[in-house]
């Protein structure tokens, strides 16, 4: 379990500009936390992916950015949550190339590779919740 060390920052996602804002905010927070620039970009990319999924599949939702600390290590945790249609088969959704929107199907599996920790919960008709963390190296 990670101990929250700052107030979480909630960013609504309802349009393209919100994605850009969340992405940029995530990158700035990462750099402030001590991440290297390239890791900041990986984090920003993961935020883009999950935020875009919110916009695409659930129309709206939010991204919550939060600095975390565990055993002296600092990290950035990102939660993407929506009350959209949910995902019927998580195993499939996490497979490279699986897409219900004729996309590349790389957003979820790709974000998992970009981050250190990745968890997803979803319930059909209730929504989706992706939580991921990256630790400062």
């Amino acid at each position: 379990m990670s101990e929250i060390s700052t107030e979480p920052l909630v960013m609504p996602i309802a349009n393209e500009a919100d994605i850009v804002a969340a992405r940029q905010r995530g990158r700035t927070m990462a750099i402030e936390l001590g991440f290297a620039g390239c890791d900041g970009t990986l984090i920003a990319t993961a935020i883009s992916e999950v935020a875009r999924n919110i916009l695409l599949y659930a129309q709206r939702g939010e991204i919550i950015l939060c600095c975390v600390e565990l055993g002296g290590r600092r990290g950035l945790s990102i939660e993407a949550r929506d009350s959209g249609p949910g995902i019927p088969d998580l195993r499939k959704a996490l497979t490279d190339g699986y897409s219900t929107s004729r996309g590349l199907g790389l957003g979820l599996p790709g974000s998992r590779r970009l981050m250190d920790e990745f968890a997803i919960e979803s319930e059909v008709g209730r929504g989706t919740n992706v939580t991921m963390t990256k630790w400062v190296r």
Binding site: I19, Q24, T41, T45, E49, R52, L104, P109, G110, L114
Partner: protein, 328 residues
């Protein structure tokens, strides 16, 4: 509220085309149909405003009272409009004024007619769009609602002198409906502005011919599916018109490159290839490229060069310009 500039036959909004007399911006036509409010969305908004069957019954119950005060309220409202330069400017002559008053009356009476359905919403959106288009700022638009509520409120109280409780209830129901309408008006204003921004963005992506056979396409801003389609179409048109062989597409100004954006880019590149042109992408930073590879994008399918200058040099080489330079 109704348009100050154009006569509209009662109940004909649904089929109305943008009127010629109204100045229409060069870009970004109204998005009433694009807003596509479903029955569920209408119901959802109603429940957010706590509009219940009781409210609708209240509203229809004051139909006759409303008919009684409509003319007076309209006169008050237009006196108010004419007292301010910013709003007076919309009523150039007596005829316009008369026409608009008639429409306004129609709207006021419509408020107590019941049936606040999808058609009702459509009418509100249409009228809101017209106000946006003629350039009436939202503050005047909303201010007029305030005036209306105030003017109607006091008259309702007077009409229900013997049953103030009932008067208040009806007033609150009317206020809910007015807020419902205000919400729609604001939304159509915002949607229209967004459309205009999109259209401006489209216009602001130039395809430049640097030399025979070589095009440059600097992309600035967000690439969403609509924009990607516009870009591709524009690029293909330019390739055809200029018989281009190489295109340098600079994405330095694209703020969030992720798998979906990369997919759009790859598709644009492939469409250009089908037309016989090679695309070189510049401005993709090494960091972003690394992230994309980690996500799983096959960047081998696109030619990338660090910066625009390098991209142009590579393009020139592939067009055979290097040969002429070496010989010179």
């Amino acid at each position: 509220m109704s348009s100050p500039q154009r006569p509209v036959a009662p109940h004909s909004y649904g089929s109305q085309r943008p009127p010629a007399a109204v100045p229409i911006g060069p870009v970004g036509a109204i998005g009433v149909d694009e807003m596509q409010l479903t029955d569920e969305e209408v119901a959802r908004r109603m429940s957010w405003l706590e509009i219940t069957a009781d409210d609708i019954a209240n509203l229809t119950s004051i139909r006759d009272v409303a008919r009684g005060y409509a003319a007076e309220v309209i006169e008050d409202l237009y006196r108010h409009f004419l007292a301010f330069d910013e709003t007076r400017a919309f009523f150039r002559d007596e005829q316009t004024l008369r026409r608009v008053k008639a429409m306004q009356t129609e709207y006021f009476l419509r408020l107590t007619e019941g049936n606040y359905d999808r058609e009702y919403v459509r009418d509100r959106l249409k009228i809101g769009a017209i106000h946006q288009r003629i350039g009436l700022d939202v503050k005047w638009y909303l201010g007029a609602y305030n005036f209306y509520l105030r003017a109607v409120g006091s008259r309702l109280m007077r009409a229900f002198q013997d049953d103030p409780e009932r008067g208040r209830a009806c007033y609150f129901s009317l206020k809910k409906l007015v807020f419902f309408d205000i919400g729609l008006a604001i939304e159509i204003y915002l949607t229209t502005i967004r459309r205009q921004e999109e259209a401006i963005r489209e216009l602001s992506t130039p395809v430049l011919q640097l030399r025979a056979g070589l095009l440059i396409l600097p992309i600035i801003g967000v690439i969403d599916p609509t924009r990607a389609r516009q870009l591709t179409e524009q690029l293909l048109r330019s390739i055809r018109a200029n018989r281009a062989k190489v295109v340098v597409m600079d994405i330095t100004g694209v703020p969030s490159v992720d798998s979906r954006v990369a997919n759009h880019l790859v598709q644009t590149v492939e469409a250009a290839r089908l037309m016989g042109a090679t695309v070189i992408i510049t401005g993709l930073s090494a960091e972003v490229a690394q992230a994309l590879v980690l996500v799983g994008i096959d960047l081998n399918r696109i030619r990338t060069v660090g910066d625009l200058q390098g991209g142009i040099e590579e393009a020139e080489r592939s067009l055979g310009y290097r040969v002429s330079r070496v010989e010179a």
